[in-house]
């Protein structure tokens, strides 16, 4: 099924081909290639609007996930009954926010984009990090996923939520 990339902003340049390549590897590792997936790049204004509308938080952020299948048990791959339900949902990447963070922390933008997408994909699969227990579960999933990605791409990416409850 399809991975659809959208770039709705013009603040930060986006190279679609490398981003797609890495997300395709992530989809393969997570076993979700049979699902449609949208990854949408937005600026601060765009992600702030979504954050305000859906989370009542009027500030920009790095990633927001909108699962197609709600109330999934963490890590449970959806079991659709019809063709239209082979949809995982959308991940919105706040690329302007991510780019700024990378500059401040001296991190590689492309790498952080991948790590952030992996985090968003885990949310689509029902993982959360509201409590320490939830975080532990999510952190583990992100870690093994990125380790598998590192093997393929030769990178050394670490989970986004590394120090969240540490």
């Amino acid at each position: 099924m399809s991975l659809i990339l959208r770039n709705l902003q013009s603040v930060v340049p986006i190279r679609r081909v490398p981003l797609r390549a890495r997300i395709e590897v992530l989809r393969h590792i997570l076993g979700i290639r049979q699902f449609d997936l949208g990854v949408i790049c937005v600026d601060d204004k765009g992600i702030q609007r979504l954050n305000r509308t859906y989370r009542q938080n009027p500030t920009p952020t790095d990633v927001l996930s909108f699962p197609f299948h709600e109330n999934l048990r963490a890590g449970a791959v959806p079991q659709p009954e019809c063709r239209d339900d082979f949809n995982l949902g959308d991940v919105f990447l706040g690329v302007e926010y991510i780019f700024r963070q990378c500059q401040e922390n001296g991190e590689n933008y492309c790498d952080v984009l991948t790590v952030t997408t992996a985090h968003g994909l885990c949310h689509l699969l029902g993982y959360k990090h509201s409590t320490a227990a939830e975080w532990q579960e999510m952190y583990h999933k992100e870690k093994v996923t990125l380790e598998a990605l590192n093997e393929v791409t030769g990178t050394s990416l670490q989970p986004l939520t590394k120090n969240l409850f540490g």
Partner: protein, 279 residues
């Protein structure tokens, strides 16, 4: 008349004028010009009697004919029309953002011929040309019901933006064919930004065409992106980005096109005023 309402009222009218009113205006002008010419010709060249007194006489037999010797019709309606256009031009000039066309980032060279603009840049053995036409490039506005307690005329009028389709031609030196990419802005109506998930611009069609002045061929294979593999589509978008046609370019092209459209609109109004006043 409330100045804020002027653009909204006049713009659709100006566009509606093209197909409906121009054909009826043309014969009237042509007739008037011909009559004027024959009157002059009769009076000066031949020096014969009947023409000269008619020129000097007040136009009693044709109410509405002017005293400016053009021989055209000048009705009270025309006067009101010209006055309206004068006010409209004044208002439009007041809200005109750019007195001269804005520059595009990068080394794009701009050429304008009427309503068509062409941006050209050279890049390491390639010539990239972007062409667009500002005619019919303003999408329809989305008329919302005014909120409770707010009258329609108090509503903030949406700014008109021109979002023309644009064609990118990439020609490699020493070749006789151009890679042509037909690009569009999303067709959503203005005012429907919420939940919009369209790219800032998209590629609709791709084909090869001859670089010479000859017409482009419909018989050349044209790749439609509607059912295209998304990975190939992403390569095409990155290909354009490498040549300076990215989201920033697309944003700036809207700015340029909007400025050109507005400039042409004001120029059209001036021509219309001149035509109505017979200047």
């Amino acid at each position: 008349m409330a100045p804020l309402l002027l653009p909204l009222l006049l713009r659709p009218v100006a566009r509606a004028l093209r197909p409906a009113a121009l054909p009826t205006l043309r014969p009237a002008v042509a007739t008037a010009t011909r009559a004027f010419g024959s009157l002059l010709g009769g009076g000066i060249a031949s020096g014969s009697g009947p023409a000269r007194p008619r020129l000097l006489q007040p136009p009693r037999s044709a109410p509405g004919l002017c005293s400016c010797t053009c021989g055209g019709l000048h009705t009270e309606g025309d006067k009101a029309f010209a006055k309206f256009l004068t006010d409209e031009i004044k208002e439009e000039r007041k809200i005109q953002k750019h007195k001269s066309l804005p520059k595009m980032s990068g080394d794009w060279e701009l050429g304008v011929q009427g309503t068509e603009a062409k941006l050209v840049r050279r890049l390491a053995g390639e010539r990239i040309t972007v062409t667009f036409n500002i005619n019919n490039s303003i999408p329809p506005t989305f008329d919302d019901e005014p909120p409770e307690g707010q009258k329609a005329h108090e509503q903030q009028e949406p700014e008109l933006t021109s979002t023309p389709n644009f064609v990118v031609e990439v020609v490699k030196d020493d070749t006789k064919k151009a890679l042509v990419l037909d690009c569009h802005y999303p067709e959503d109506e203005v005012g429907q930004e919420e939940e919009d998930e369209s790219d800032i611009f998209s590629i609709r069609e791709v084909s090869f065409q001859p670089t010479s002045e000859s017409d482009w061929k419909d018989t050349n294979y044209t790749l439609n992106t509607d059912s295209l593999d998304w990975a190939l589509y992403d390569h095409l978008m990155d290909f354009l980005a490498d040549r300076g046609v990215d989201n920033t370019f697309a944003d700036e092209l809207i700015e340029l096109s909007t400025a050109l459209e507005h400039q042409e609109y004001i120029s059209f109004l001036e021509d219309l005023k001149g035509f109505v006043k017979c200047q």
